[in-house]
Symmetry: C2
Subunit: 259 residues, 2 copies
């Protein structure tokens, strides 16, 4: 019988640039050491803050296109400039939302740029420059810290996921997806395989990392300030190696039917 469980970790403070997230997570877990059968899902905002992927609005000089789009959309032209800087292609600009393809290939609202307010200053939080590399780095640091206890080290290092909330083209509301990943296969491919009744399976290419990101977001109240969720029960998708990351979840431009 398969089952999963997920819980938000309380007690993680507002993240500062340069912060050791792996250490903060272990501290938040108290005496408990996460193991190779567990997944840590981290909201990208925490990773972006720790990495300093932050732009102060006061430092941005908007160009002509940003000024024009901002006037059309009723937005701050400096914010629009940062979204354009993060984008390789603008797909739509309507009702105050820019939908673009980011440098990472992600198609999402405002290129994943979030308004923030750290230290009283108006800032924008970008997505991490390379979210898969960020996930690998946090996982490696967790491994280092866990290795300090040889008994815990034998139980393996948890997988690390970095999440963001994405809207959907044809559905209301947002769900979390995996933008960075280490130690978990992002997709579970059953194409051509059969089910318990010997029938070919219908839904056969499962975005298990995105499903785990969505599950993680249910395990915290949105106003709880809990950027990290610990998930149990996904062992069949977890790997000792870091693996291909979240990149395989991105549909390549050549396959895009909805540009």
């Amino acid at each position: 019988v398969a089952s999963i469980s997920a819980r938000g970790l309380p007690g993680i403070p507002e993240i500062q640039a340069g912060e050791d997230l792996a250490q903060l997570i272990l501290t938040a877990l108290g005496g408990e050491t996460p193991d190779g059968g567990q997944l840590l899902a981290i909201a990208h905002t925490a990773v972006s803050k720790a990495e300093g992927a932050v732009v102060a609005l006061a430092d941005v000089t908007p160009g002509e296109r940003a000024v024009e789009l901002a006037a059309q959309q009723g937005k701050d032209p400096r914010m629009i400039q940062v979204v354009l800087d993060e984008s390789v292609e603008l797909l739509r600009a309507e009702r105050g939302v820019l939908i673009s393809r980011t440098r990472h290939g992600l198609v999402c609202a405002n290129a994943g740029v979030d308004a923030s307010n750290s230290g009283g200053e108006e800032t924008l939080l970008l997505l991490p420059r390379d979210p898969d590399a960020s996930a690998r780095k946090i996982r490696a640091r967790l491994g280092e810290l866990i290795a300090a206890d040889p008994r815990a080290a034998r139980a393996g290092v948890p997988a690390v996921m970095i999440t963001d909330s994405f809207g959907r083209a044809w559905r209301h509301g947002q769900t979390d997806v995996a933008v960075g990943l280490a130690g978990m296969q992002p997709l579970d491919d059953w194409r051509g395989r059969t089910d318990a009744h010997g029938l070919e399976l219908q839904a056969t290419w499962l975005a298990v990392a995105d499903a785990a990101a969505a599950a993680a977001d249910l395990a915290r109240a949105k106003d709880s300030g809990e950027p990290v969720v610990l998930i149990d029960g996904l062992g069949r998708f977890l790997t000792v190696e870091d693996g291909p990351g979240a990149a395989p979840l991105v549909r390549p431009l050549a396959e895009d039917l909805f540009r």
Copy 2:
């Protein structure tokens, strides 16, 4: 501290037309009675089979357009005809996949039509005619059966969700979404509200029902023949009333930027 858990229910047999799903679920749960703090996520295929939302391929006569599309896409023209019958608008037909808007307003591959093989006959499973009504009906029947035990009845009736696996425009793989719902709010609206640090929240309109559907799909192995998953920990989204169903998750045509 928020937390969720989800587990697939073993022991539900292949569903026949006319089957009492509520009774099958209670039987699968053994002595355990689900309560008003729990959500039952049911794969639409089980509901479609129980409701007889099934078409025998042998009974389908494809029209001219279906024959033409089938030749282009390398598909069975009878299957294409059924997809067209279920659709109000065909958005794309490429690489063997038709993406359309269904009668329910859902935008998905093949209008939610799945190949099946019940009783040795080649059949197609449609989406339930009115998945929100199906969810309400199953929930009402659960309520009837649970009411037989006055002690259990006081703990309330679980919410019921009907799920399907949808692809995504810009991401590989499928995740489950809620196509029918009773007893749960589909969206959690935080727009304009602030987080624990007094900052305006970024991801503010959460498709909690879709996130729960995705979580449910992680709680069963895909070849396990487990159409029903029981989820705990979503009490803050559950309601005594059946509520608006999954319909509010569908972005109306007028808001569609990607037709």
